[in-house]
Amino acid sequence: MPYTALDYWNLVLLLILVATALAMYFIKDLLHAVIVFGAYSVTMALVWLQMNSPDLAITEAAAGIGMTVLMMAVIFRTTRREE
Amino acid sequence: MTALLRANLPVLVVIAPLFIAFILTPLARRIRLVETLAFLATVLGLGAAGHLATVVFARRGSPFIYQLGGWPPPWGIELVAGNLGVIFALVVTGVSVPVVLFARGNLTAEVGDTGRVTRFYVLYLLLVGALAGMAVTNDLFNIYVLVEVVTLSCCGLVSARRHPRAAEAAFTYLILATLGSAFVLGGIGLIYMLTGHLNMGFAGQELGRVWPDYPHTVLLAVSFVIIGFGVKAAVFPLHVWLPDAHATAPSPASAILSGLAVKGYLLCLLKFLYGVFGGVLLRELAVHRILTLLGVAGIIAGSLLALTQEELKRRLAYSTVAQVGYLVLGGGLLNATGLTGALFYLASHAVIKATLFLAAGAIQAATGKSRIRELAGVGRKMPLTMAAFTIGSCGLIGLPLFFGFIGKWYLLVGSLEAGMILPVVAILAGSVLCAAYLLPVIRTAYFRPAPAVAWRDPGRPQKLALLLLATAVVVLGVRPGPFLELARKAAAELMAFV
């Protein structure tokens, strides 16, 4: 089956996902890791937009980026950032 | 009104504890009211479950099917209250009543101020409701959501203990349990991708038709489900979180975690394996052999590990690992006798382990001691508590006329029917080891000289709770007839898929 432009676009997004996931394992600074997680969530939301699930995209944007990342950032005000 | 209740029984069992849970938090200041309401909620659940049982009995085998929202099966969510559901709903609600009674007025030391205690009760009721939901649900994704409710409330209950170790235990538990949920969800996803159904009956039928086209996928799905529920139910090599969590939780929570939560996951596992994958597939992939092996390993290793523990609650926690082995083993025998044994044993272990943990909690609260060798003389100073503990121990060891015996008997017969000698040896060795790790506790409590300290039996509700549970162990051991009949019918229901 030939790839369409959409597929290539998707592929790029998925590669970004894998790259950010790997990066999260290796990054030492926890705040940076959380920021990368935010990027991961944004990419995920985009993937879901591509996959015709706008509901999910909105929820992911709100939950993944807004909520999770903010929560973690709030936590870093009390705990140590470094690994 | 009665007609209304009767028509909605399956869902009533689930939402009765939940609804009361929702109104408890704002009442935190009036702790007596909260406790009474929580007790009322479990009693309501028990009443509903009992009523459901009579209704299902009266229907003579055809399960009570309830379509939520009125949507027919492949589209909506379906509750099926068959014998299997009824037996588990009865166990859950039945055990939850004495446990909540035990908690009455007794949590401040372990949990904290009234706000925390109220939230503890809410979590407890949510757990009970979700477990009852597991009993009757017939929908794959609904199982996942229920599993998550159970997981979160269990971890919440563990972390409710005001002890540095509680947070650590809860975190380990949470991470591993969520890992398990992820695996379960993965399994559900694979099944859904192959069949397009979330209803267990439809998915099972469809899977039975299409699985030869997707051998790897089915294998992966089976292993996802087994690993997922295995982690959550503490099947032997995946049990690492259990001892910490169950030993550090507040005592009523330990009782309910060991007695019920673990069983809920096992029930779901059985529903998946028998209801969705079906006997043909299990035999084809040799899943039943793996389960049997896991069970055997669990029994032996759990018992041996329990033997090395010095703390009473940890010993009991490891004992749970061993007892889970019996249930897994029974599930892997793939015959009606073995399953009957496993289901009966599930019920008996729920009651017995609740008894033991509550008694241990009472002892710990009264004496402040947690190590077994410091318990000298407890038997004489706290006669009722220790009597309950002794009765529970007799049941767990599997003496005849106690609740645990019949289940073990059927497991033994089932293993012999399956032509396997290894499980037989493991079951018997497990009994002996069980005696070896429980009897020293009793010996120390009764036959060692007591220090001159005034230890007392706990308060009246606690005594009543222990009495109820101990009576259940004896009465159901002497007259297991109706319950066994239920277990047998439930096993037949599962075996219908094989």
């Binding site: 998925l14 996902l17 790997l22 015709n52 999910l56 009390t78 | 540095p164 650590e168 969520t178």
Partner: protein, 133 residues
């Protein structure tokens, strides 16, 4: 082998999901930092969500919101999206709770590193903590 590659290329979202899942699992199981474990859990779960959603998608389909404009449109399967909506909320709940636990652990041990927690357990809790197991 010549069977495998074309099929993998067709199913690339699943492949990506599998890779993410493995990475997530590996992170959860091996990373000593509690935060990273939590991130790993999130990666795992989103990998599974990805599988679900991809399975419901149709090339050239449209989002499952009925629009009066094109009545002929091929709607994708809305069920996986609906399920994963639930899934996301669940994963957020778990994350919140795990963060709370991390905060409490930090309060007790002053670190979020499992190795250091093991070291400090004795001095903080006063006993040798968890036995073998």
């Amino acid at each position: 082998m010549n069977e495998l590659w074309p099929r993998l290329l067709v199913n690339y979202p699943y492949l990506a999901a599998a890779i993410l899942f493995v990475i997530g699992t590996f992170t959860v199981l091996t990373h000593p930092n509690l935060f990273k474990k939590l991130l790993g859990i999130n990666i795992m779960e989103s990998a599974i969500f990805l599988t679900f959603v991809a399975s419901g998608n149709i090339r050239g389909g449209v989002a499952p919101i009925r629009a009066t404009a094109n009545a002929e449109a091929v709607y994708i399967n809305p069920l996986p999206s609906a399920l994963m909506l639930t899934g996301i909320v669940v994963s957020v709940s778990v994350t919140a709770f795990a963060l709370a636990l991390i905060v409490r652990l930090y309060r007790v041990y002053g670190t979020t590193d499992l190795r250091r927690i093991v070291v400090r357990r004795k001095e903080v809790t006063g006993d040798d903590g968890f036995a073998q197991g």
